[in-house]
């Protein structure tokens, strides 16, 4: 694990696939699909290597990379001020996120088999998206973070707009505008910090913002810090999404192709949580503390609102979309609790929901591909035609509603544990959401699998061989986390310690 | 002070000439009005058109060449705006100004050649 540029290779490995793809003729469907799939493998392998090495006790610091990149102004006078370096690095949290990304990307590449047209363009964009997602988590520098963040935006826009369903362009536009605004706000925050401190390195910023006698280019008042944090909250709130900023996300989940939704729900939404934890808590710990209550309240609102709306939906995709909103509420609740259990719960929820959502959307994709509908009514009795699919669907739902022994349970439990310690009443209200989750998920899934059959599902093939791969992997991981949470908690220890140190907990 | 007076007087003379130049026609025409007969009838006041009834508006559209000549005139007249001060101050300015002026006039000559080649200077 002393390979130079290990992280760069990890992050940019999908580019190799793009390169190869660009030389392939458009008509070679299976070849393109194979290449597209294979291109996700290096990142997966490398990230797993990193993970296991880390578990084996290697330090992540040796992965850090730093190459000087942009220097604004005259370096002879300004020194290192206003320089932006290309710096990548990992800590436990980001390592987990990268592993998650790599796994889900590979699985989504398998799920992309269902894509019907223009595979070449699709896979090129897909791989670009993967670069962006990997980069976001590996960036050690706010501006680099932002760049990767924006890089995820463009491919997603096209992937939704071109390969989605009926209202794909609307969905793509609302995705673009909401996220564009979000990233714009994020950019303001980043630029203010950069202009005021002269650095964009996250560690340096953390140090500068939390020291008593900071070396700043221009002063940053307390009010400004608060303003910046709120802006940050808005920026990541769009991504997460937090209650009033969520409408785009529902549209995207319904209209985008299933493989992209897997990534979107599994990884892209999590960037919001990741950003809040890393930057919100890391750079503005004091301000974050004073906002924590509101965050928890927002979390509960998200949880209840999402759950309620999920309950009234007739389309299974909509149910899942609102369920995502609801589950993101749990992340917020965990963060709002501001104690170790809560934050750990939030992070667990991030990973766990990533896996569960990916599983469920993959399954939706599977049966949508066969029956061309995702309406719960029309799907009634699916278990007759596709018993295995139905079975996994039920498993996914169970994981999602927090059945003990699966990942959902661990995360929800910890998050609420955290909140009960701090704000018992709020937590009590929040538990209603958990119950509602169980209700709407079971209603929907049971409606699909064992509900009244409206049509004959005979002649429909169940899961094909290759479709087993994602399903099994995801279910496996969900269960693994559920029964052996330390796969996650151990790598997180050091990150959590740092955070707790910052917020004085 | 004296020079100032001289200066003013000289322009006063110019002004006097202007007044006279305007006055003479005015006075003469006024005198003529007293002397000349006045016997109007309609056909006296028609527009002359070789004896036939005038037709159409006489303010016809003109060949565009007239305008182009006007533009050419403007351009070359402006050239003289620079040539005159230069010529007057030539002794003080010397060779430098000569070269500058040569370049300037050369550019204008290109303009002339341009107009020539584009057959602007051809009349009708």
């Amino acid at each position: 694990m002393n390979l130079a540029y290990f992280l760069s290779i990890l992050v940019f490995s999908p580019l190799l696939g793009i390169l190869v793809l660009s030389f392939l003729p458009k008509t070679q469907e299976s070849l393109i699909k194979t290449v597209g799939f294979l291109a996700t493998i290096p990142a997966l392998v490398l990230s797993l290597i990193a993970y296991f090495q880390y578990r084996a006790g290697a330090s992540l610091d040796q992965l850090n990379e730093k190459v000087s990149w942009i220097q604004f102004g005259d370096s002879s006078q300004l020194g290192n001020l206003f320089s932006i370096d290309y710096e990548l690095g990992l800590d436990g949290f980001s390592l987990i996120m990268i592993v998650l990304t790599a796994v889900l990307s590979t699985l989504a590449a398998i799920a992309s088999i269902h894509i019907k047209k223009e595979w070449k363009g699709y896979f090129m964009l897909f791989l670009l998206l993967e670069v962006g997602m990997l980069g976001v988590f590996a960036a050690e520098n706010l501006i680099l973070f932002f760049i990767f963040f924006e890089i995820t935006l463009i491919p997603t826009f096209f992937l939704i707009g071109k390969w989605g369903y009926f209202e794909k362009e609307n969905a793509a536009y609302s995705f673009l505008i909401y996220n564009g605004l979000g990233s714009a706000v994020l950019l303001i925050v980043i630029m203010v910090l950069f202009a005021r401190t002269g650095t964009a390195n996250i560690d340096a910023l953390m140090a500068a913002m939390n020291s008593d006698n900071p070396q700043l280019v221009a002063p940053i008042s307390e009010n400004m810090k608060m303003g910046l944090l709120i802006a940050l909250l808005i920026a990541f709130g769009v991504k997460l999404p937090i209650f009033p900023l969520h409408s785009w996300m529902v549209r995207v989940h319904v209209q985008a192709p299933p493989s992209i939704v897997m990534l979107h729900a599994g990884v892209l939404l999590k960037i919001g949580a990741f950003g809040l934890i890393r930057f919100g808590m890391g750079i503005f710990p004091e301000q974050f503390q004073s906002l924590a209550v509101w965050l928890a309240v927002l979390g509960v609102v998200n949880l209840l609102y999402g759950a309620f709306l999920a309950f009234v939906q007739t389309d299974f995709k909509m149910v899942l979309a609102y369920s995502s909103i609801s589950h993101m509420g749990i992340v917020l609740i965990g963060l709002g609790a501001l104690n170790e259990a809560g934050i750990q719960g939030a992070i667990f929820q991030v990973v766990s929901h990533g896996l569960i959502a990916a599983l469920l959307f993959f399954l939706v994709g599977v049966f949508y591909e066969r029956v061309q509908t995702s309406n719960i009514q029309n799907l009634g009795g699916l278990a007759k035609g596709m018993p295995i699919t139905a079975g996994f669907l039920l498993a996914g739902a169970m994981a999602s509603l927090g059945l003990p022994g699966m990942s959902g349970f661990v995360s929800e439990f910890m998050a609420f544990l955290g909140l009960f310690k701090e704000m018992p009443i709020l937590a009590a209200v929040g538990t209603i959401g958990i119950i509602m989750t169980a209700v709407y998920l079971l209603r929907a899934v049971l409606g699909i699998t064992y509900g009244k059959a409206h049509r004959d599902f005979a002649g429909i093939t169940d899961l094909k061989k290759f479709e087993y791969v994602p399903v099994l992997v995801l279910v496996g991981l969900i269960v693994l986390i559920g029964v052996y949470p330390s796969v996650l908690s151990e790598p997180l220890t050091s990150t959590l310690e740092t955070i707790m140190l910052g917020i004085g907990g | 002070m004296e020079l100032w007076n001289l200066y003013q007087n000289n322009y006063l003379i110019v002004f006097v000439f202007l007044c006279l130049g305007v006055l003479l026609p005015v006075v003469a025409l006024f005198l003529g009005k007293l002397l000349r007969p006045y016997k109007p009838y309609d056909s006296k006041y028609t527009t002359y058109e070789s004896g036939i009834e005038p037709f159409h508006d006489s303010r016809v559209q003109f060949n565009v060449r007239y305008y182009i000549f006007a533009l050419m005139f403007v351009i070359f007249d402006v050239e003289t705006v620079f040539l005159y001060p230069w010529a007057v101050a030539y002794e003080k300015l010397g060779i430098f100004a000569l070269i500058e002026m040569l370049i300037f006039v050369f550019m204008l000559v290109i303009g002339l050649v341009y107009a020539w080649k584009k057959k602007v200077l051809k009349w009708i």
Binding site: W69, F148, E150, G161, F194, A195, A218 | L93, I110
Partner: protein, 504 residues
């Protein structure tokens, strides 16, 4: 002035200008004496070669220290060198676009003129960039303007072209008159037209009335010059002129002419008003006292440009508003007056040059065949010409400021400059970012056409060599400066010495 003084001048520092002048003259004569039937394309190539020669000679001058000749009317400082570089590169690309411009009607016998008028306009811009005197600045400005007027109306038998030229002349002349009026006051207060002497003299003006007059002059100069930038309040000509003018001319106006506008605005404002007292109690120099005014213009320009662009269906109009918006971004640089101002302006203008010219090369190619400039002409471009579509996408992304492109680094730079001063320009930055997001709508609208919509005509597209070169260079530069901007920044730092000689 005798021969000795004359020969003691270092005429070599004017070499780029002389080359352009010489080539323009030679082209005129060649055009006149060439047989009618012969293709005029060769003139375009000669002009291109001339610009390259000027570029080479300019690069040769880069190590040259600051120097001024002709009683300080011609000044070669790093500012001049840096921005001349942009002008020359921009014009070279424009000329390449113009070489491949073959409209259906209206340009036949004027092809030759097309090329040397570009050179004349370029010469005007270059003179502006290294002028140290109000009169030469003005003459340069007008050389540029008048050539552009004619260029806009080059398609003599095309009504749109006529109309656009007429509007351009009228607006331009009004703007000129306003600028001049402002200049006349500045002259009246100082009794000289030399920028340095003016600045020196103005530091000692303390008469209340004079300061008032100076403020009026400042106002008028800024308003008048905003015309060249196509910035508020003088932006209304841009959409019509951009639409009606031949596409290469539109490209020229949107890039070279705009760059020249920023050059003159910086030359005048920062030379004359940098040290003039503003008469307020804190003893701020005038330029700082009136900073908010520029900031207001910048904000208004960005909002107008980006919001109205949303409604456009004609691609050239769309780009007109886009370029208005870009002028607004650039005005933010001037309004923020940070220590990065020159670098930022230079970099952004450079980035803008490549991305916009590349886009115009494609626009010209896509629109000229069908004659229609509706946005729907781009439908299905990805199928017909994937290279063009991807290139266009890159340019649009860069214009929108998406990372990975030069436009992003430029914007980053602008934000930084605006936020560095201790009272950061938060409002301005917020407007800029918000309008940038608005701009996604129309930039992505074009992309939606290219990638999502089916093509009406599925015929393959053949791109002329010159256009391919422009697109290739532009896309390479856009991405290169987006990924490795330090190439440009190091060049800037290494050769132009922080523009310190601008004020000396």
């Amino acid at each position: 002035m005798d021969l000795e003084t004359l020969l003691s001048y270092e005429w070599g520092i004017m070499a780029p200008e002389f080359i352009i002048l010489g080539v323009a003259t030679a082209l005129t004569l060649m055009d006149l004496f060439m047989p009618k039937t012969q293709s005029r394309k060769i003139l375009g190539w000669v002009g291109f070669a001339g610009i390259l020669a000027a570029l080479v000679s300019l690069l040769g001058l880069i190590g040259h220290g600051p120097e001024s000749i002709l009683l300080d009317t011609f000044r070669l400082d790093s500012f001049a060198k840096a921005f001349k570089l942009l002008l020359l590169i921009g014009s070279a690309l424009v000329l390449l676009i113009a070489i491949s411009y073959e409209p259906n009607e209206g340009l036949e016998e004027f092809r030759g003129e097309f090329f040397y008028l570009f050179l004349a306009a370029l010469l005007g811009a270059m003179i502006m960039s290294s002028s140290g005197d109000l009169i030469t600045l003005f003459v340069g400005l007008e050389l540029l303007s008048i050539s552009s007027y004619i260029l806009a109306g080059m398609r003599k038998r095309n009504q749109l072209s006529n109309e656009s030229a007429m509007k351009y002349v009228i607006n331009g002349s009004i703007a000129t008159a306003i600028t001049l009026f402002g200049m006349s006051y500045v002259y009246g207060l100082t009794g000289t037209t030399n920028l340095k002497e003016m600045a020196g003299f103005l530091t000692s003006v303390y008469n209340e009335q004079h300061i008032y007059l100076l403020g009026l002059a400042f106002f008028m100069i800024v308003v008048g010059l905003s015309f060249k930038l196509a910035a508020a309040p003088f932006h209304m000509w841009a959409p019509d002129v951009y639409q009606g003018a031949p596409t290469p001319v539109t490209a020229f106006l949107s890039v070279v002419s705009k760059t020249a506008g920023f050059i003159i605005i910086i030359r005048i404002l920062f030379s004359i008003f940098a040290n003039a007292p503003s008469g307020d109690v804190q003893g701020l120099p005038m330029i700082l006292a009136l900073q908010d005014y520029i900031a207001f213009l910048a904000g208004a320009t960005m909002i107008i440009g980006n919001v109205i662009a949303l409604r456009q269906r004609n691609i050239k109009r769309l780009f007109a508003y886009s370029s208005i918006a870009q002028a607004g971004y650039l005005l933010v640089v001037i309004a923020s007056m940070s220590l990065f101002m020159f670098d930022t302006l230079w970099f952004y203008l450079g980035a803008y040059l490549f991305m916009n010219l590349g886009a115009f090369a494609i626009i010209q190619h896509v629109t000229h065949k069908s004659g229609s400039e509706d946005i729907s002409q781009f439908a299905g471009l990805y199928r017909r010409a994937p290279f063009l579509a991807i290139a266009m996408a890159v340019f649009l992304l860069s214009l929108a400021g998406i990372p990975g492109t030069a436009g992003f680094i430029g914007k980053l730079n602008i934000f930084m400059g605006a936020l560095v001063p201790s009272e950061g320009h938060y409002v301005l930055v917020s407007i800029m970012i918000a309008t940038t997001v608005i701009s996604y709508f129309y930039y992505f609208g074009v992309m939606v056409q290219m990638f999502f919509r089916p093509a009406a005509d599925t015929g393959k597209v053949k791109i002329p060599v010159a256009l391919t070169a422009v697109i290739g260079i532009s896309i390479a530069a856009t991405i290169l400066f987006g990924v490795a901007p330090n190439i440009a920044f190091d060049f800037l730092q290494g050769n132009f010495n922080q523009f310190t000689d601008f004020f000396q």
